[in-house]
């Protein structure tokens, strides 16, 4: 389904996650961040988003532990940047699919 985010029409799934990363831009990340209660999206946030996008492109499953060991942020910082469900919120902002836990 289509949704207009930051003035741009993009394809999203039922949970509001972008389904096509090529449609992503920084303004979209900021607007989704604001919707999720992150009022100020800082360069540190973007560092995490870039890391997530790189991992996604390499087809590597994302885990909080993995991000914590990435050298970009530790887990504590990740939670400060993206409170409550950091991986879900950061993935949504990064324009990649909602993280699936291996079940």
């Amino acid at each position: 389904m289509e949704k207009v985010i930051a003035g741009k029409s993009v394809d999203v799934d039922t949970n509001g996650y972008l389904t096509d990363l090529s449609q992503w831009n920084k303004d979209i990340a900021i607007e989704i961040g604001n919707e999720e209660g992150i009022n100020e999206v800082t360069p540190k946030h973007f560092e995490v988003l870039t890391y997530l996008q790189e991992q996604y492109k390499k087809d590597i499953a994302l885990t909080i532990r993995g991000v914590g060991k990435s050298g970009v942020v530790d887990i504590k910082e990740l939670y400060t940047l993206f409170p409550k469900g950091p991986l879900k919120i950061s993935s949504k902002m990064a324009g990649i699919p909602r993280p699936k836990s291996c079940i």
């Binding site: 499953a61 885990t63 504590k76 990740l78 836990s101 291996c102 079940i103």
Partner: protein
């Protein structure tokens, strides 16, 4: 003579030994299987030990009982795998050369990963039931526990048998009701997931059951440390959940042999092609069961489906043919819901569990994603099936390695 070596004689390794013994030409191949222990545990039975519905002897047999004649069993700890020289080195220094290696070393709990989990309160007010010792310690604790706040908790995903903690919560509800003390126990289910389960449709059904049984759920909780003295678990965001009795599923990790050999991921799982089960480590190394990083459930039923496909792929590999990308992530799990009932779920990489009939479309007799007594009997029968059908690699009637879509209500 060529050598095929299997590492780990648990569920998956034993099944592979049984399959390959039947399929490989004995005059060409020597099959060796290595495990550090004598005992083969029926791990699904650990769920029932704390409530004293299974006795310790119900879940233990010896490994050698299930290793087919003609397969060499070596009891020794594996030290390292040297992929460059195609050699496995055991702790006693023995070297095993292989032409084909199958990794089946499973996953195990790592309670040391969370600060405050191991220590003064371990097996006093903090327990696991994913190990034989933990399940028995918890049984003894529950015998004369007077009630209070019981917290059932998942540390981080992935864990083996991801539905087991939910089942534990359901069975605890049933157990305390029967003991006439349900009103003295507050049960809280704390999970790093956003809901009772990750798959949407089953989450709704399972979430509903939690509610019905008066079990509170705290989602999105990633534990940072445990304060045993104060009796709280604390998450990275600073939220606290108090407990009198904590039943936790510690972090699950693959064996350190993967770390030592230099090819595990950050939880020591082996990078493996999710459809062919060949590792990306080297073309003559394959992996099955809980030790892989494939995004499927870590469950005995999954290992069973994988075993049929991996056997075929090993034969193709030997013939120099292309491997078949046939593993679709198929999982099939009974979920105990207490009071003599259970649910059944059947799913794969692409299709989440839905309602319907299994294994025969329209007939069943088992109902998918709906509580029933028959499903509960299915769960109990699983133990017999495990020892007598799965480990010896006998074909299960009507249940195919690839998930069947018939009889299911996708909408």
């Amino acid at each position: 003579m060529k050598n095929l070596v299997i590492l780990g004689a648990g569920t998956a390794g034993t099944m592979m030994a049984s399959h390959l013994k039947k399929k490989l030409n004995i005059s060409d191949w020597t099959i060796t299987i290595v495990d550090q222990y004598k005992t083969h545990y029926y791990q699904p039975g650990f769920l029932f030990l704390p409530f004293d519905t299974y006795k310790p002897e119900d879940v233990k047999k010896t490994i050698d009982e299930f290793i087919p004649k003609g397969v060499k069993l070596v009891r020794e700890k594996i030290d390292i795998i040297d992929k460059d020289s195609d050699t496995v080195v055991l702790e006693n220094g023995t070297k095993l050369k292989y032409d084909i290696l199958i990794l089946a070393t499973g996953t195990k709990t790592a309670p040391g990963e969370v600060e405050g989990m191991l220590g003064d309160y371990w097996y006093k007010t903090i327990f696991d039931f994913y190990t034989f010792e933990g399940a028995l310690a918890l049984r003894d604790k529950l015998k004369d526990w007077k009630g209070g706040k019981m917290v059932v908790h998942i540390t981080e995903m992935p864990i083996k048998c991801p539905v087991a903690p939910l089942e534990f919560a359901f069975l605890a509800d049933s157990f305390f009701l029967k003991k006439g003390m349900r009103d003295k126990v507050e049960i809280t289910y704390v999970t790093p997931l956003s809901a009772a389960f990750t798959k949407e449709k089953s989450s709704a059904a399972l979430g509903h059951l939690l509610k019905e049984k008066g079990i509170k759920i705290v989602p999105d909780f990633a534990v940072e440390h445990i304060d045993g003295e104060k009796g709280v678990i604390v998450d990275y965001g600073g939220d606290e959940v108090p407990f009198d009795l904590l039943v936790t599923i510690p972090t699950n990790m693959g064996d350190e042999v993967m770390l030592r050999s230099g090819f595990g991921d950050d939880l020591n799982y082996v990078p493996t092609d999710k459809n062919t089960l060949q590792t990306t480590v080297k073309e003559n190394i394959f992996a099955i069961g809980d030790c892989t990083n494939v995004p499927a459930s870590k469950a005995g039923s999954v290992a069973h489906f994988q075993a049929e496909i991996l056997t075929e792929n090993i034969l193709l590999y030997i013939d120099g043919k292309e491997l078949k990308p046939d593993f679709d992530g198929h999982a099939n799990c009974f979920i105990e819901t207490g009071h003599g009932k259970a649910l059944l779920i059947d799913f794969n990489y692409d299709y989440e569990p839905v309602k319907g009939k299994f294994p025969f479309a329209g007939i069943g007799p088992l109902n998918l994603l709906t509580e029933s007594r028959l499903n509960h009997w299915g769960k109990l029968a699983f133990r017999w099936i495990y020892w007598n059908m799965l480990l010896p690699a006998r074909k299960l009637p009507f249940i195919t390695p690839k998930m069947s879509k018939s009889g299911k209500n996708f909408d």
